[in-house]
Structure formats: structure tokens, C-alpha cells
């Protein structure tokens, strides 16, 4: 009996590991294939020889991509929006979360403020009113169109607010006795203490700005597209208008699929670089937020 049970357990373990390995591979294979395509030469790609390993290895698609001015220009726009946008996100989150973490008798109208924020999670004006507003504020084709409309991230405010509520108020009282105002209490006690939470929020805002493309498409002109929008325009819409003659000549020697693959990889690399940190703070982030019973 016991032996049978053990054998059954053993088989379950083996099948389980096999199934999980296979699933993980299936998730991964598209990426491996794309990396292989980006490192293979034209003949191999056209001949359908490239599967999960580069054939006739070459860096040429990458050097082509990295020498394109349009690519670097859009990279610059994205860098700008990540720097300005994520900083703004985090500063606003801190300044909103701190007062709102106080109980109602310490912050008058707290209830009203919280509802003003919360309501935006329930209802929004929709695409057209937002677009017209940005247009009438004369922000079209400026970096502010990418940064200001989404500057207040209500969900992150709630995350940090809940974190601050757990802070023992003796700490704050002590600071207050020492004559520290709210700004100093926030800056010297709350912010240093909540660095892990702030780092989590910062990372998610960075990834959010890096990945955003739709606002770039509707608010910006072609030569000011952020990277993801630029990628969308050439990988998905096949719009090669941004290319000049010498680039076109060079592209003829390459395979279109390899070039697209190389651009996607380059755009994914920064995510890959912050991925370990994302992972580290990720579980902490969930614990702060959704699972909090």
C-alpha cells in the first residue's frame, strides 16, 4: 500500500516537472526564435532554416538598427518621458499618499479628497474628450502630452497610503515634538522608511512609461514618436516612410524579419535589465496591494 502510494507520488512529481518545464518552454520559444532570427543572415531566414538557433550568425541587423537616426530619435523621446514622467508620478504619489494616510480628524475633508481620487478609477471621460482637451491645451506634439494626463497614478497612491497607515504614529508625534513640520516629517521619516515601496512604485511607473505607445500615436507627430509607437509604426503597420534612400539600399541586403526582430529585442532589453529588480519588489508589491484582505 505504502509502496504504491510512493510510486504514485513519484510519477506525479515526474509528470508535474515535465509539464511545467514544457509550459515554460512554450512561453519562451517565441522569444528564442525572435532572437535567433535577429542574428541570422538573409539567406538563412528566407530559406526558413532558422528555428531556435541563429544560422549564419551576423550582427548586421543590429548594426543597421543602431545606425538609424529615427530609432535613436524615438529612443530619446522615450528616455525623456521615462525621466520626467516617472519622477513626476512618484513625487505626486508621495505628496498625495502622506496627507491621505492621516485619519479624518487630522486631515479635514479627507473623505472628499479620497473620493475625488477613487472616482477616477470608476469612470472616465473616454478617448475623444481626452484628446480634445490635450489639443485645446496646445500640448499636442509636446512631451507634456505624454507625461501630464497620466501623472497621478491613483492605484499607486492607494498602495503607498495603506503602507503609511501602518506607520506607528508615535514616530510622527516625536518628530512633531522636535519641531519638525509635515514636510520634514515626510521627507526625513516617511520617505526613507518606505523606500522599498517607493522603489516598487518607481519601477512600475518606469515600465509603464517605457511600454506606453497609444498616447504617442494619437498625440505626437511621426518624428516625435516614442520608441514603442515608432516600433508599432514599422513592425505592425509596415510604414517605411521614415526611411531615406541609403537606408533603403542597405535594408535590401538584409531581411525584413531580422530587422524587425532586432528592433523588438533592443526595445525589450531595458525591461530585461530591470527585470531582476521588478521580480524582487514584485511580491512585496502584491502584498502591499491586492491581497491585503
Amino acid at each position: 500500500m505504502n509502496v504504491m502510494k510512493k510510486a504514485r507520488n513519484h510519477w506525479f512529481n515526474v509528470l508535474n516537472l515535465l509539464f511545467l518545464t514544457l509550459s515554460a518552454l512554450i512561453c519562451l520559444i517565441p522569444f528564442i526564435h525572435i532572437v535567433s532570427l535577429s542574428l541570422s543572415d538573409k539567406a538563412a531566414v528566407l530559406g526558413g532554416l532558422v528555428k531556435l538557433w541563429p544560422v549564419h550568425f551576423t550582427w548586421e541587423p543590429y548594426s543597421y538598427v543602431l545606425e538609424r537616426t529615427a530609432f535613436w530619435r524615438s529612443f530619446g523621446v522615450t528616455l525623456e518621458r521615462v525621466l520626467i514622467g516617472a519622477t513626476l508620478n512618484v513625487v505626486l504619489v508621495i505628496f498625495l499618499a502622506y496627507p491621505l494616510s492621516k485619519p479624518s480628524h487630522k486631515l479635514r475633508f479627507r473623505f472628499v479628497y479620497v473620493w475625488i481620487l477613487f472616482f477616477t478609477m470608476l469612470f472616465n471621460g473616454g478617448l475623444i474628450p481626452n484628446y480634445i482637451l490635450v489639443k485645446e491645451l496646445h500640448m499636442l506634439d509636446t512631451i507634456w502630452a505624454l507625461v501630464l494626463p497620466g501623472a497621478v497614478t491613483v492605484f499607486n497612491v492607494i498602495l503607498l497610503l495603506n503602507f503609511y497607515r501602518e506607520v506607528p504614529h508615535e514616530l510622527e508625534d516625536a518628530a512633531y515634538m522636535d519641531g519638525a513640520g509635515h514636510l520634514r516629517t515626510l521627507w526625513q521619516i516617511y520617505v526613507p522608511m518606505s523606500m522599498p515601496a517607493i522603489a516598487t512604485i518607481m519601477l512600475f511607473c518606469i515600465v509603464g512609461h517605457w511600454n506606453a505607445w497609444f498616447d504617442g500615436m494619437i498625440y505626437m507627430k511621426g518624428n516625435h514618436y516614442p520608441l514603442q509607437t515608432y516600433l508599432q509604426s514599422i513592425v505592425i503597420k509596415f510604414d517605411f516612410n521614415t526611411m531615406n534612400a541609403s537606408e533603403a539600399q542597405r535594408l535590401a541586403k538584409l531581411n525584413d524579419r531580422s530587422v524587425k526582430a532586432a528592433q523588438m529585442i533592443v526595445a525589450a532589453i531595458p525591461i530585461l535589465l530591470v527585470y531582476p529588480y521588478l521580480q524582487k519588489y514584485f511580491v512585496a508589491g502584491i502584498r502591499l496591494g491586492s491581497v491585503k484582505g
Binding site: 508535474n16 516537472l17 511545467l20 518545464t21 509550459s23 515554460a24 512561453c27 519562451l28 517565441p30 522569444f31 526564435h33 525572435i34 526558413g48 528555428k51 505628496f95 498625495l96 502622506y98 496627507p99 491621505l100 479635514r108 479628497y113 479620497v114 477613487f118 477616477t120 470608476l122 469612470f123 472616465n124 471621460g125 473616454g126 478617448l127 475623444i128 474628450p129 481626452n130 484628446y131 480634445i132 482637451l133 501630464l148 494626463p149 497620466g150 509635515h182 515626510l186 511600454n211 506606453a212 505607445w213 497609444f214 494619437i218 514603442q228 516600433l231 508599432q232 513592425v235 505592425i236 523588438m264 525589450a268 527585470y275 514584485f282 511580491v283 502584491i286 491586492s290 491581497v291 484582505g293
Partner: protein, 289 residues
Amino acid sequence: MHLMLVPGLILILLFAYLPMTGVMIAFQQFNPVKGLFGDQKWVGLDNFHYIFSMPNIWRVVGNTLLIATLKIVFGMFTAILFALLLNEVKNIMFKRVTQTVIYFPYFLSWIILSGIMIDVLSPSSGLINQFLGVFGIKEIYFLGENKWFPFTMIASDIWKNFGFNTVVYLAAIAGIDPALYEAAAVDGASRWKQTWHVTLPGMRMIIVLLMVLSLGNIFDAGFDQIFNLYSPQVYQSGDIIDTMVYRMGLLQSQYSASTAVGLLKSGVSFVMITTSYYLAYRLFRYRLF
């Protein structure tokens, strides 16, 4: 302290509440030259009559509901299954590597994932159809045929998101009191029985909670994904409310009609989201703040 709130509140009022008042253009014959608060011509419910007279409106609503619901249902099922299976793995290293691999796509944009899918799913040169060809299966137009398109959307949505949700469920499992397992083992419960009688009930709260909260997403079939993968030949099965709003509004400049569709969607979503939060609060005392 009130001063600290000022910058954030101004931005919220400007970029969230002002557009909300902008939904009034759904009741106007909006002329963009006159501006958002210009002297527009009011037309009552004409735009709404126009929407409901469009031949494809119910098909679009149906597509939205179908794709969104199936994504929620299968996405949850897959994530719970993987959380349970990963939980049975004793090798920490294997567990961590698998998690790392399966939730990587979550952090990439739909632009990159769509680009990859367009290549991999290509009928002529794509990896998947080459693979199926080995078994003598004729090439499948995953993105170009109406009977495959919704399936492709649901499967690829799971590919992107299930790893993330698996980790959420694993966090819930980690919170289960180990004493419960010991007690079950003492009573002679097998691994399977322990999963059934301890792990699943331990996850029940988070499962029902996430299910309730996902009610609010029932009209979000995934604009970022579908917009980048669809084409006119799959509008029949793949066009959703959000893509229709985009085309009507920004490509055809039917500002008022597009806003009207958007307003209807936000209105119904508002009711759904409010209900879901209300239920979550009543059932679990779940509160966001």
C-alpha cells in the same frame, strides 16, 4: 498638509474631471473648431439613436463580452492550475526559474508581443505553422480568419498574463497556515486530498475576490492587443467596442458618435465596477483604502 495635495488635485481635476464633463459632446453635434466649451449645437439623444441603428453594433458588443469573459475565465483557471502545480514542486531552484520564465511576458508591451506573434504565427513562414506542417496540418491563419482570431487573442492574453496571476495565487498559498497541512497529514490525507481540502479552501477567498473584481473588466477585451493584431478581414469576430471608438473618433472624425459609444461603455462599466467593489466589500470586507 492640504497644500501637499494641491498639485495632484489640480492635475486630477484637469485631466480626469474636465474630460468627464467633456462627455457632453455625446449629446451635441460637435464641431471641433468651436472648442470643448464652445457654442455647440445640442441634438439630444440623436447620436445614441444613430449608434443603435448601426448594423454591426451588437456584434461588436458581443465580441467584446465574449473575448473579455473567456480571457477572464481561462486566464484564472490557468493561473490557479499553475499555482497549485508549482506549489507541489519541492526544488526551490526549479520553482524560481519557472516563475521567472512564465511571468516575463507580463512586463513587455503588446507592441513587442504583437510583433513577435505576427512573425511566429505567419501562415507562410511562421514557426508555428512550420511546426504544424511536420504533422501534415495545413497552414492556419491565426490572425486572418474569423474562426481563429478570438481564440488567438485569448491564448496570447493568457501567455502574457498567467505568470503574473500565478505569482499572486502563490503568494496566497504561502499565507496558508502550515499547521493545517500537518493536521491533515496526521489524519492520513494524501497530497491530493491536502490540495483539495487545505490549499484550495485557503485560496478560496483570493479566488472569489479576484473573480468579483474582474466583473469590472467585462467590457475590456484588450484594446492594446487587438488593435495591434486585427485587420478588416477579422472585424466580424474581433472588432471590440474600444477599437470601434478609436476608428470612429480619430480616423473618421465622428467625435460625437464615438463619444456616445464610449460614454455608454463607461456608464455600464461604472455600474459593473461599483457593483464589484460593493460585493467585494460585503463579502470580504475588502477595501482599497
